[in-house]
Symmetry: C2
Subunit: 324 residues, 2 copies
């Protein structure tokens, strides 16, 4: 349920004009889908709208923007809205300075710093897309299949196609409403979740080839070296989901994904599927994060980093009675 | 919407006893989830029920059966129900003979041969799970979180976690109802779609290493040899979804997955994402199937099969103006 005052704030937007929609940097499916749904909705209502982002749109998500890569402003705005953006820094260098001029922020991150004049914030929503879908529905605003497809894509992206624990009954209700419009949801899911350049698939695969089980098979460590990246011909942005790969290995409760950087440091991503707190391990090396997902960067050769992390994970297993 | 006479048939089941639920052979998540949801529902209503299947339950799906592998009958039944089973042959050798005694079939396959005394058949439903969920809901029968979790799992399995084109608004409505019960849907999805033994993951990924693009990158061929299977230590059933892997390669419209059999024949799976009809290619070699998914078995060494298939695909591209 959306609060009454939020419906009011949202419908007030339809009396504004020359609206700039700011999306967060390194754009994902949720910020793009929500941003372009809102753009279309406002345009259907006769508004002039420009949708803007600090960084390029990744190729696999460019169906949201009809192939457009660079989202630069078309005009100087009167009204500024952000979507899915918790803090001013997330607007990126080009747009950070706009933060104190934001009239409305539509967001689902509990960490939102309330930088905007008005903030519609629902941390229990799976995605900004689900929130905007509910706002539109409860406001009784008419929309079309373009709005519906963008919102569906946003929700699907942030929920891993309805598979994560952020999915609630209301998430499926939103999807049911949106799917009653005519668009190809299956093709959208295929682009977001299945398709990948052969180079990237091969690198993911090489990771598994060098996967090393330890702690009696309960933990796994995988390594992506500069050499592997170079040989693959894949782009930097192709490796965003790397930490998900080691997690797939059956029987493991903790995974470490090592990635060699060009400055000879190593980025370590740690994931836990049990009660072992990987943020403790990350903090040993100056990093941090959450109980089940954390990371750190270590300035040592990759072989040394591997040994350090393996020892630390082993100690964590020795200390705790691990359980799922 | 469920037809009134089907609600009547379904509720009539609750005046029967000593009920046997038959699932199809090589059981998948839909038949298991639907079968065990129905078992639990009938037991909640004081019935004696036995759920039966010709083949072992795959490890990744044994959460439906609480770890039970073999589903043999507990008693001689009075009433027999099948779920998700289109033809008597699909009951498997042990239970094929029961087909002419089936009182009720609950199914969503258009190809159902109507072998049962009563058939509740809705080919527009994504899954038998969605159908049973609608039957229960529209009959107004009370159920619990075990029934809900099994039905959710059945729907999720047959829709690839809501990503395929068989998903309709009603599918999400069913999921919304089911998720209002307390169970761990995310963990269920992780087991069905993410987790895999390292051996299997390595094989899937070896496939990509030998992936060969042809037809100017529009087609791809991958090969699984006996040697690769043996080295992996993976089980036969681990390779069910193999044809999905080659489909992931961006830019390709047709994929061929070759699998060497122990009798020196080669099983070929063909997939098309465009207007090229791969059943024509399969039928050249005595196989068949659908426009977008077909297969054949060729009694030749794997290298020869590879050349035959590549030539045939190339001719198909030459003949047609392919389009998505």
């Amino acid at each position: 349920m959306i609060r009454k005052e939020d419906i009011q704030k949202f419908t007030q937007l339809f009396s504004c004009d020359r609206i700039m929609i700011l999306m967060h940097c390194r754009p994902d499916g949720d910020t793009l889908g929500t941003g372009f749904a809102l753009k279309r909705l406002l345009e259907l209502n006769g508004k002039r709208v420009t949708a803007v982002c600090n960084d390029e749109v990744p190729k696999k998500l460019d169906f949201f923007t009809e192939g457009k890569k660079n989202l630069d402003p078309d005009f100087e705005p009167e009204t500024i809205v952000t979507v899915d953006t918790a803090t001013p820094e997330l607007l990126g260098k080009k747009y950070e300075a706009y933060a104190n001029r934001v009239w409305l922020a539509v967001d689902h991150h509990a960490t939102n710093s309330l930088y905007a004049e008005n903030t519609i914030l629902y941390p229990d929503k799976s995605s900004a897309g689900e929130l905007l879908s509910d706002l539109i529905y409860e406001s009784g605003i008419i929309y079309d299949s373009v709005v519906a497809s963008c919102l569906y894509g946003a929700i699907s992206f942030d929920t891993g196609c309805f598979r994560f624990s952020n999915v609630k009954p209301e998430t499926h209700l939103a999807a049911a409403r949106l799917l009653s419009f005519d668009f190809d949801a299956a093709e959208m899911n295929r682009r977001m979740f299945d398709l990948a350049p052969l180079g990237q698939l091969k690198v993911e695969n090489e990771l598994l080839q060098n996967a090393e089980l330890f702690c009696g098979g309960k933990a796994v460590i995988v390594t992506l070296t500069l050499d592997m990246v170079e040989k693959s011909g894949a782009a930097e942005s192709d490796f965003e989901g790397l930490a998900a790969i080691a997690r797939r290995i059956e029987g493991t409760y903790v995974s470490a994904t090592l990635r060699e950087n060009s400055d000879n440091s190593v980025r370590v991503s740690l994931r836990s599927e049990c009660n072992i707190d990987v943020s403790v391990i990350a903090s040993e090396f100056g990093g941090g994060g959450h109980v089940r997902a954390s990371g750190c960067t270590i300035n040592k050769p990759v072989d040394e980093v591997k040994e350090l992390i393996m020892n630390s994970v082993e100690r964590a297993f020795e200390k705790s009675e691990y359980q799922l």
